[in-house]
């Protein structure tokens, strides 16, 4: 089947999509967007987090056909050309990126959190990122990255 949707602001078409295929597979294997990572395939790890119609979801749990006509934003859609999004820059500056596999999902989750909640408390951050696993950093640097991104976005805490 054919799936048409808007991805990172562009109209995209994927052909020969199998009905049981996930949005994640379509993004990575058919649309050339490998930013969203394929790890657990069961919604446990959050490394495939993308926006679907403005709401963060695990792309591995969305059936490809369900995005027909809908709008997807992946981690690739956050930067402005070569200029990283402030959340991405904060992850780098805080040392919140080690192996990097969880990073795209975390960046999208943090991007969403700060949009809804420009000055989140630490418990807010932990709650918002509860669905994103990281096996390298021990999370402290990730929390620092969120604080840094919030601060730079103008929030006095």
């Amino acid at each position: 089947m054919r799936v048409r949707c808007t991805v990172n602001g562009e109209e995209r078409v994927a052909d020969d999509v199998w009905a049981g295929e996930s949005l994640l597979y379509v993004l990575r294997e058919r649309l050339g967007l490998p930013g969203s990572k394929n790890a657990c395939e069961q919604g446990e790890c959050g490394s495939c987090t993308v926006y679907l119609d403005g709401v963060p979801v695990c792309a591995c749990l969305v059936a490809a056909g369900q995005v027909e006509g809908r709008t997807v934003v992946t981690v690739e859609g956050l930067a402005d050309g070569d200029l990283l999004h402030p959340v991405q820059q904060a992850f780098l500056d805080a040392g919140a990126v080690q192996c990097g596999f969880c990073t795209p999902g975390l960046v999208v989750a943090v991007h969403d959190l700060l949009q809804r909640h420009p000055r989140p408390s630490d418990p807010d951050v932990r709650e918002a990122l509860a669905g994103n696993l990281c096996r390298c950093t021990g999370y402290e640097k990730i929390l620092e990255a969120v604080r840094l991104a919030a601060l730079r976005a103008g929030g006095d805490r």
Binding site: G20, E44, G46, C58
Partner: protein, 287 residues
């Protein structure tokens, strides 16, 4: 495998009748896991996310009607006052990403003994409204779970909505797991106070082949509560309540916990949640 995408509820019912081999999918948080892991290869999927009729909730005559497409995130944000027990349970489901997609109706469709929505629905006396081209049927939550991951749906039926009585009285939910997110309950428990008719409702999760109530415990606690004087809860009565809840369970040993642990945990959760609910009731009445 094919994908059928009805644009209206009527189309969905027709598709369900013509193609009972299609697996209904909404948020995909259960269905896609099974497909990704090759545990299930349905002939096709019946995508219910384009059906507008089931995407909303409403209140009519003291009953909250939650459409089948309403997500846990919506229950958390919109229904905390109308369905406090269900909202509490919804907050414990998966992660934000999962709650943005998963639905209470999907939980009922999967009918897992560990489904987080089930105990509060049992405790409050919810009704599942199911529909086919033959008509609408209302099934009490208590009659809906018929076996491990089996429910009372006929092959041509879809869950249309969940009807939850708005009681205005305290409800509580508690769940045991290894962390605060992404946990399949080791054991869970919900309690609902119904002061108007001096009843107590209960729901047990993850501790029997199906979610189930604890009827003897309900009667015992209802009889022990000081409904008129709103006096404190008698410690021996609340302990007894916990024991009766544990007795009502039929748990197994598995990777998440032993049967003995689950029984013990249930007794603790039951006593705790009953105390929270009753204390809340006393405070609300006093203020």
């Amino acid at each position: 495998m094919d994908l059928v995408q009805p644009a209206t509820w009527a189309e969905a019912l027709t598709a369900r009748a013509e193609r009972p081999d299609l697996l209904p999918i909404a948020g995909g948080t259960d269905v896609m896991v099974d497909i990704n892991f090759d545990r299930r290869r349905p002939e096709g999927l019946l995508d219910l996310t384009r059906v507008p009729e089931t995407a909303t909730w409403s209140v009519d005559d003291g009953v909250l009607r939650i459409g089948a497409g309403v997500t846990y995130a919506q229950v958390e944000s919109d229904l905390a006052d109308l369905a406090p027990g269900l909202a509490m349970a919804s907050r414990t489901v998966g992660s934000p990403q999962i709650r943005n997609r998963g639905t209470v109706a999907g939980n009922l469709g999967s009918a897992s003994p560990a489904g987080d929505a089930h105990p509060p629905l049992l405790a409050v006396g919810a009704t599942v409204e199911v529909e086919s081209v033959r008509g609408i049927r209302q099934v009490a939550a208590d009659d809906f779970f018929v076996g491990v991951k089996r429910n009372a749906l006929e092959p041509d039926e879809l869950i249309r909505s969940v009807l939850v009585p708005v009681t205005g009285a305290p409800q509580q939910f508690a769940k045991i797991g290894t962390r605060n997110a992404m946990v399949i309950a080791v054991a869970s428990f919900a309690v609902s106070l119904h002061p108007a008719d001096r009843r107590v409702g209960t729901g047990i999760g993850s501790a029997a082949p199906t979610p189930r109530r604890a009827p003897q415990a309900e009667e015992q606690l209802a009889g022990a509560l000081d409904w008129d004087g709103r006096g404190p809860l008698d410690p021996s009565a609340v302990r007894r309540f916990g024991e009766l809840v544990a007795d009502a369970a039929d748990p197994i040993d598995d990777v998440r916990g032993s049967a003995a642990y689950r029984r013990h945990a249930l007794a603790v959760l039951a006593a705790r949640t009953a105390t929270w609910a009753w204390d809340q009731h006393r405070t609300e009445v006093a203020s």
